[in-house]
């Protein structure tokens, strides 16, 4: 490996380990969005009908709305603290590709917030009446969806990181952009719960995740640079 690429790989690894270590010191930051997700999905049966056959119909909506809202909560943490204590500025000035470093931060953020949500979702899904056979589909859809959401949300997080803590502005910015992910993700989950083949929406969801992974990092870097001025 050339010296430059070795430098980038080492920096990315160090950055990711640092972020993980910091996050583990404050388990609340990781656990609270999960708790929020479970609470939100619990609200739906309370608002409707404890009858499982009814809940099965709204399960995709409840799971995905819960996932979206909980991701929004968690997104604020992505850049705000590092912007305030100067770490982001150091990263911007250190000469390594800023886009790659921010992408590394976003990946860690997904590992801490998106992935746990995916792993805990089957619990919520079963509580809402989904059959056991639906789990692979539910997991796959939420896996792809949370990746796309983390990437799209990172753009919003970058734009709002230096503003007053304003969750509603972040939601207003991110949710319309996330609407396609919601549409295809909920559709895939609904097909999974009905134990029907879900390849079509799943492929589209995967396409969106790939598109987000390709384009979002540039927007995130631009947004964060502007926020650091």
């Amino acid at each position: 490996m050339s010296a430059r690429r070795a430098g980038l790989a080492a920096a990315v690894t160090a950055l990711m380990l640092r972020d993980l270590r910091l996050a583990l010191r404050r388990p609340g930051d990781t656990l609270q969005p999960l708790g929020f997700f479970l609470v939100v999905t619990t609200l739906f049966p309370l608002a409707l009908d404890p009858e499982l056959s009814v809940l099965r119909d709204i399960a995709p909506a409840a799971l995905w709305v819960g996932a979206l809202l909980s991701s929004l909560l968690a997104l604020d943490l992505l850049f705000r603290e590092d912007a305030q204590d100067g770490t982001l500025e150091q990263l911007a000035l250190c000469g390594l590709p800023f886009t790659g470093l921010l992408l590394a931060k976003t990946v860690v953020h997904w590992l801490l917030t998106g992935l746990p949500l995916v792993l805990i979702a089957p619990l919520a899904a079963i509580a809402l009446g989904a059959p056991y056979g639906a789990m692979p589909g539910v997991l796959a859809a939420l896996l792809l969806g949370t990746v796309a959401l983390s990437l799209i949300g990172a753009v919003g997080a970058g734009l709002t990181m230096s503003l007053h803590r304003n969750g509603s502005l972040l939601a207003l910015l991110v949710l319309p952009l996330a609407a396609p992910v919601l549409i295809f993700g909920a559709r895939a989950t609904a097909l999974a719960i009905a134990l029907e083949p879900l390849a079509a929406p799943l492929y589209l969801l995967a396409a969106m995740a790939v598109l987000a992974a390709t384009l979002a990092p540039w927007a995130v870097a631009a947004a964060v640079r502007i926020g650091l001025e």
Binding site: V155, L163, L173, L177, A219, A223
Partner: protein, 246 residues
């Protein structure tokens, strides 16, 4: 040669003076085109065989919807130009587009609902066109919200430019996702006519209204952009001369 023109237009004092002179050249034609379109649409065009006189709402709904989308594209393009070439005028144009676009998007939604009520029986049916318009309205509101939240006008320009560019990439994705989503449930799609193609007597007024609304937008844009340029050119010397002239 074209570059010289581009740079002249991009220079704030030139733009300010040029915009002032050009505005009437768009405002009056806008009024005339809309007047002609209204006469053609309300009086001269025959009633649709399926929707009767109700279809005439298209003469305000379609231009509003067209404007809502076109203005977003203009906003995102000029924001991109402003971001890449650091042109104050481009940022001023982008900032001017947002309130115009948002209000016409809201109008498209309102007229769409008024059209839907007699046709579908309810004011709202989550049909693909209106749902896309609703999401577009949220995109505008988010853009305006972000602008208002950032105090420094230069940073507000650049941050909202990033947002506008991300938004404009998303608009086709959102549009097609919503169409796909809607097709699953066979909800009534909007605004189908009795005839497969529109006859000239119906189409010409529509084109006149579209042209009139577009000209109206340009006139509004030029007016607003002048003010936005002034706000960004705080201490430049030309401001005093220009204001003495107004």
């Amino acid at each position: 040669m074209a570059w010289v023109w581009f740079h002249r237009f991009g220079s704030p004092p030139h733009f300010y003076r040029l915009a002032r002179r050009l505005t009437p050249w768009f405002a009056w034609p806008a009024a005339l085109l809309c007047a002609a379109g209204l006469v053609g649409g309300l009086v001269l065009a025959p009633a649709d065989y399926q929707q009767g006189d109700g279809f005439r709402i298209i003469y305000v709904h379609a231009p509003a919807a067209w404007l809502s989308l076109m203005v977003y594209v203009v906003m995102a393009s000029s924001a991109a130009v402003g971001l890449i070439w650091r042109m104050t005028v481009a940022h001023a144009v982008a900032a001017s587009c947002a309130p115009i676009g948002a209000s016409f998007t809201a109008l498209a939604l309102a007229t769409g609902m008024l059209w839907g009520r007699p046709m579908w029986g309810t004011y709202w049916e989550w049909d693909p066109r209106l749902t896309s318009e609703l999401l577009l309205l949220f995109l505008y509101l988010g853009y305006m919200g972000l602008r208002n939240s950032v105090d420094d006008i230069g940073r507000a320009d650049r941050a909202s430019a990033v947002l506008a560019i991300v938004g404009v990439v998303n608009v086709p994705i959102i549009h097609y996702s919503v169409i796909w989503w809607n097709s699953l449930h066979q909800a009534p799609t909007v605004m189908k006519f009795g005839q497969p193609t529109m006859p000239a007597s119906m189409l010409v007024p529509l084109l006149l209204m579209l042209a009139g609304f577009t000209a109206c937008f340009v006139a509004l844009l030029l007016t607003r952009a002048r003010g936005e340029v002034l706000r960004r050119e705080r201490n430049a010397r030309w401001v005093g001369d220009a204001l003495g002239q107004t």
